[in-house]
Symmetry: C2
Subunit: 583 residues, 2 copies
Amino acid sequence: MRTHYCGLVDEALIGQTVTLCGWTDVARNLGGVCFIDLRDHEGIVQVTVDPSNAEVFKVAASLGYEDVLQVVGVVRAREAVNAKIRTGKVEVIATRIEILNKAAPLPFHAHENPGEDIRLKYRYLDLRTPEMQRKQRTRIRLVQALRRWLDARGFQDIETPILTKATPEGARDFLVPARMHPGEFYALPQSPQLFKQILMVAGFDRYYQIARCFRDEALRADRQLEFTQLDMEFAFVRERDVQDTVEGMIRDVFREVMDVELDAQFPRMTWAEAMRRYGSDKPDLRIALELVDVAELVKSSEFAVFAAAAADPDGRVAALRIPGGASLSRKQIDEYAAHAAKHGAKGLAYVKIDEAGEISSPIRKFFAEDAFAALLKHVGAGNGDIVFFGAGAYNKVSDFMGALRLKAGKDFGLVQDGWKPLWVTDFPMFEWDDEAQRYVALHHPFTAPAVDDIADLRANAKTAVSRGYDMVLNGNEIGGGSIRIHRPEMQSAVFELLGIGAEEAEAKFGFLLDALKFGAPPHGGIAFGIDRIAALMAGTESIRDVIPFPKTTTAQCLMTGAPSPIPDEQLAEVHVMVRPKVS
Amino acid sequence: MRTHYCGLVDEALIGQTVTLCGWTDVARNLGGVCFIDLRDHEGIVQVTVDPSNAEVFKVAASLGYEDVLQVVGVVRAREAVNAKIRTGKVEVIATRIEILNKAAPLPFHAHENPGEDIRLKYRYLDLRTPEMQRKQRTRIRLVQALRRWLDARGFQDIETPILTKATPEGARDFLVPARMHPGEFYALPQSPQLFKQILMVAGFDRYYQIARCFRDEALRADRQLEFTQLDMEFAFVRERDVQDTVEGMIRDVFREVMDVELDAQFPRMTWAEAMRRYGSDKPDLRIALELVDVAELVKSSEFAVFAAAAADPDGRVAALRIPGGASLSRKQIDEYAAHAAKHGAKGLAYVKIDEAGEISSPIRKFFAEDAFAALLKHVGAGNGDIVFFGAGAYNKVSDFMGALRLKAGKDFGLVQDGWKPLWVTDFPMFEWDDEAQRYVALHHPFTAPAVDDIADLRANAKTAVSRGYDMVLNGNEIGGGSIRIHRPEMQSAVFELLGIGAEEAEAKFGFLLDALKFGAPPHGGIAFGIDRIAALMAGTESIRDVIPFPKTTTAQCLMTGAPSPIPDEQLAEVHVMVRPKVS
């Protein structure tokens, strides 16, 4: 239907007749001559219609936004060059215009900056904008670059089922009633975790899959019901085999897609160090601020909150110095306190030192003068700074002080440009869940502990470290993985420590325990969040921008209207009914 | 953990120390020397353990099938070369063996030829066999070759949702209760059909996706609940643009994966011709047999069944000559009649001419001698042949005579080796559904009719031809596609002809009708069945062999035990309950 793409018409074609297809980006009648900006996926070219060609002119004069056209014309050098577009040196003098499809008046124009709901309802119109095309293309190029890289290195792209068994990995499963098995259900996979481990047992060596995963969780701005991960697994490996390989992959892919050179070696940091210095297991290293432990300097203070936390072996007293932070008003300081509270703080102490060296601080009175001076010296506080202090349980203090660090980084323009990747390693094996009064797995229950000895693990569960690792980029966990348990006895022991009894383990994970029995190789892997990496590359905060057809935070597709009611007869076929409302 | 792969140890490594990891394929103690066949995904190498190395020997002598090992040893030229394996000229003299994971006694050995249920339950053991590895690799290579081909030509790999709206395309939807919307459901997509059309409206130009599709239908040997298709769509195209492109793709991919050269131009055949000559819309051209129409020659016969069908404008009387078919016994002929009956025949007439020219036929008596001779001459029947005759409604006769043709082809060894692709085109737009008393779409309701004029389509719905096309290979429909409707009025008219009222159309497909209104380009596409093509390439009848984790014909995963009962509390969270059994 066409000889060339609109956006690729250039001077080499001058004098030639071309046939183009595309959308009417805009059509104007200027001084008796019609100009049509004809657009396709490659770009825009100007089509010019002279009134001497009465029939064609009549068509051109009738055009509205987004009418779909086929245009035949001759390429000519343009008098008024438009340097803004690639085809700006030429125009096409139309000899024939056919309207392939007339467009109704549009519900909105992109420049009107409609709300996201309208954009999602008419997703096909939103996706036509150059900005959305650019974002989608970034994702397409990312996935293509990853596949090419993996294929060239012998990774095998293997499919795992979408209709599978409900085997909770922490999040809530999506359920699918089984028509052929009344009262039974399939579940959508939260990840291909178990299948990829099974593939290693089955003798595959290096597996990957760009896999759709499903978690029925509350949606936040950066979560979707379904999301996409690059899922990988390797047989006969230790941590560094996996890490070095995928670090190389990420570096190569950023070079290819973004023309960016990441660190030749990503920094490595234990979980403990990351929590201590940055109050986060996914520190944003673009922000130079660090937390400073001050327990030793405050343990004798009269401020009970500090003294108690400093004396508690599981406690922490940490300080965050913000250079220039003395400019914060009382109201702004309250905002910081509120932000800390949102992240679990019971209170937030501060010391503000104005440019003249004048100190204002609600906690100064609890300190002897020299102790206070020593404290300020220890945290490096000087004129113009503010220092926030948090005290309490170690992880809680780390969390909210880490959150303050991020807020301060943004508020004070302390986020450097560029890309700061790192590895976080040596995660705790277990986390104590106060509510459930039992351990939960920090990664997932298939993660190997650093110790090989089961008795040792049992005896030191609280402090046990796992063989898990995360790749972090600019404060985002973009990849998470681990060496897996490959011995059935260890897997059973870990289930037991997690409060999963032998019977429950057999019912839920019996096939995995079986598989580990019949010759499972040592193996490990990782999964990368494609949506998040694409969003980072595309420079957008929302992963919705890099998902062609995303759902809202209320879990709806505004374009198709999913989810929707289903006739009861159809539900009867799959042996379920809508539950009567309990009033 | 290793320096080399087992299957790649070769003479270049003689004298070197290598570290290998793999499975104990077999371990034998022969005359005081231990030989271990160590296997990984690349193949097998012989590890030899001399008793002089007492410690290592003790480990070696203890080994059982499938124990997972790490072996350090020195590569040496082998005295007794084993020409059957790639590494047969060398062996590895073990200096250290570590058992990485001991394997329990296996539930079966591959050579015992266990039933498919056992193989599916222990899928990880079954997948370890060289035969299953070969089949899986064929699939992996197919998908990789397709992607590489498409990426090189500017096709964009774009994801479409798995949780979407119930929009029946003919088959039954899988439903997923929506937690955040009590009483509402998502559906799993039967194909990305509507989304890919929307992508064309959104300005993408050439889309592809290796997409998972879901149909809750009765499972046959070659069907699965979920299956994989290469889904493609093109903007601004006509039939030949799509067909020529993907024909080239299939040719290139067969060359790359199978080292096979397909026809430089695939034969093309209308649906009418395919039905007439082969009694099938997916003729297996490897079988040279053809149907012959004989209505003209039998319309005056006294055999009422023939005469009536010959006189009916919607009837058909067809003959199938099977060279050498006179060898069929009475019992075998009955089997052919039963096969025809299974495919809709009410009866099956035949004429058998033995080697001596003796004729036996239950219908001879209905014909005058010269008419009978003319009939035999017309169908080319000679000594040693049998000719089957079918009479009745055109499509029914075509169906069962086509089925006989396939059976005869197999029974008489008339299926040629090799690959016979073709295009089938010009399908009927609609099929009359006797039960529902209305038209149904032969492809799907978004397929464009060959006529552009709505009045014309309405007036001639019965004989209307669509712009659909199928790619057929060796009797399998491996790809099906069409030019789509891009004008909203035509889409509404087709919905109407299919008995989908304006209200229903709006509720189910309103977003598509909307999208067509706001500047939809002419577009078309195709979808290829990856499972089927992989099975054909791998030389297996069952697509289960090329799916890593397939379900049984009873829709179960025997390995994980899906589907399974779900606690009622969990169902309550998604607002459904299991329907009480109606007794």
